[in-house]
Symmetry: C2
Subunit: 318 residues, 2 copies
Amino acid sequence: MTSFLEEHAAEVAAASNRIRPHIRRTQSLTTDLDRDLRLKPECFQVTGSFKTRGAFNAVLSLMERERPRGVIAVSSGNHAQAVALAARSVGVPALILIPEDANPTKVAATRALGAEVMQEGITFANREARLREVMAERGFTLVHPFDDWAVIHGHGTAAVELLEDAPDLDVIATPVGGGGLLSGTAIAARSRRPSVKVVGVEPEQADDAYRTWRSGSIQTLPSSPTTLADGVRATAIGKRNFEVMVTNGLIDEIVTVTEEEIAEGLRVAWTRLRLALEPTGALPLAAYIAGKLPAGTKGLILSGGNANFETVARLLTP
Amino acid sequence: MTSFLEEHAAEVAAASNRIRPHIRRTQSLTTDLDRDLRLKPECFQVTGSFKTRGAFNAVLSLMERERPRGVIAVSSGNHAQAVALAARSVGVPALILIPEDANPTKVAATRALGAEVMQEGITFANREARLREVMAERGFTLVHPFDDWAVIHGHGTAAVELLEDAPDLDVIATPVGGGGLLSGTAIAARSRRPSVKVVGVEPEQADDAYRTWRSGSIQTLPSSPTTLADGVRATAIGKRNFEVMVTNGLIDEIVTVTEEEIAEGLRVAWTRLRLALEPTGALPLAAYIAGKLPAGTKGLILSGGNANFETVARLLTP
């Protein structure tokens, strides 16, 4: 009988092979800051974030079964571009639902990757309901941003590469929003190196994952938080992510960081590490600088670099 | 009989071995911008610039002959930190002459690396004269920022690594100021791949290397230019650099870029490549974006990342 961890670890290994021709193997970096630190700069990933790992694994897995009529996603950020690119690469239509008040630059980037974008009448509140309606109308297949096994397995490939580069890490930290990256990382890391501590980093303002992990049941935020880290604004983690993180106990800890700590992480990234990260991508660094990570050698998965430059400039200039 | 190129290429190979324990092998990057582009991000090098390559090769070469009393350098920028670190690594004193009006942050960074900094009464105009006096007083050995064979050979190691990562490049472009990086690159690249075109990129405001290459004799700027690219403010290339670049014809071209083109290169680096470069480090990118580089696959040596964030913020926000 194979265990939960073995079964999912095999899927992560399959995902690595499946997505290899389509994504970039980002090289881990060492820095002058601390010799015990390894950075996994997913800001250099295709489309500028790790989201292409999960999106490609999901779309390519669908194709192996039966060619979908099209794929659909709800996102105003990195997942939108990732799904658009993955769909275009295999030649299936992509429809992305983006709330009306989203950043026009991100909408344009998603369209530039060949996706159809639907915005009219879509709000953060009604988007799930609209999604069900549109899926029924079109017969398109959903690619969920985190509560989807193929997405989780795809996201786990970043930790596989990080441990290839640095097999002796004591700690691996990732941002946590819906839990896709953190649960994929936990599967990949704990199966390859059982002693490694896997830590999720979350804004204090959006501490649902922290409270979920502490309480042992899924906790939901009353509304989408306004944190600087706009990539982790999901109001609750997914069921599959909960199964990995809590039911199977594959993560060690979730730590929270304040907005000032996120800003400091971003400052260090841009001025000392020379990495132009987005605030969400700097979450693990923020926790490291604040001294909130466990002892030992640390690998930080810096999830993306699609920053709003004006926000960064405001934070970094006196 | 070994040729000029063979002899110096052997010295570059020796430099690679000599400095390996002390520097970082920066991994070249591919990008979504253009599949025919390879970036050599020396912003991730120890101290944030390629300058440590030449400084370590110079200081370690001195140690192989006879332990110097100390080393001395004149610099307000990346060379200062590189020499300070190299000297500290081998345990010899370093004295750095920095003009009085230099950026206090860079002075502090140099002191933090254990160097003695001399600023009193030192100006851009009198610094060479002061240098001779202090060298005579102390008996310290000069590490010149570019007109020094050991420095040139050390700087050539970046191109060795770039061609290991991407052996089929048609073009390699570097910034050019005093010519240290460009002449080292020319030796390394042309000896390993005779067909590769080696191109220097210089601000239009500081076009002495361009005019030197066109005229066949060393041209000098009347004063230090005020270009954004403050790492290439040398008023003339060195004699040894001239010997490589012009006398032996090892470079193919020098192209100049306007201040607006440098700013655009910086914008693309920070917002699309997610590399927090300094303006000088973005010179090859500026030339690429302006369509000024020869056809084919291109390797860009992005020399450093010690940017003044306020300058960058001013350039990048509307």
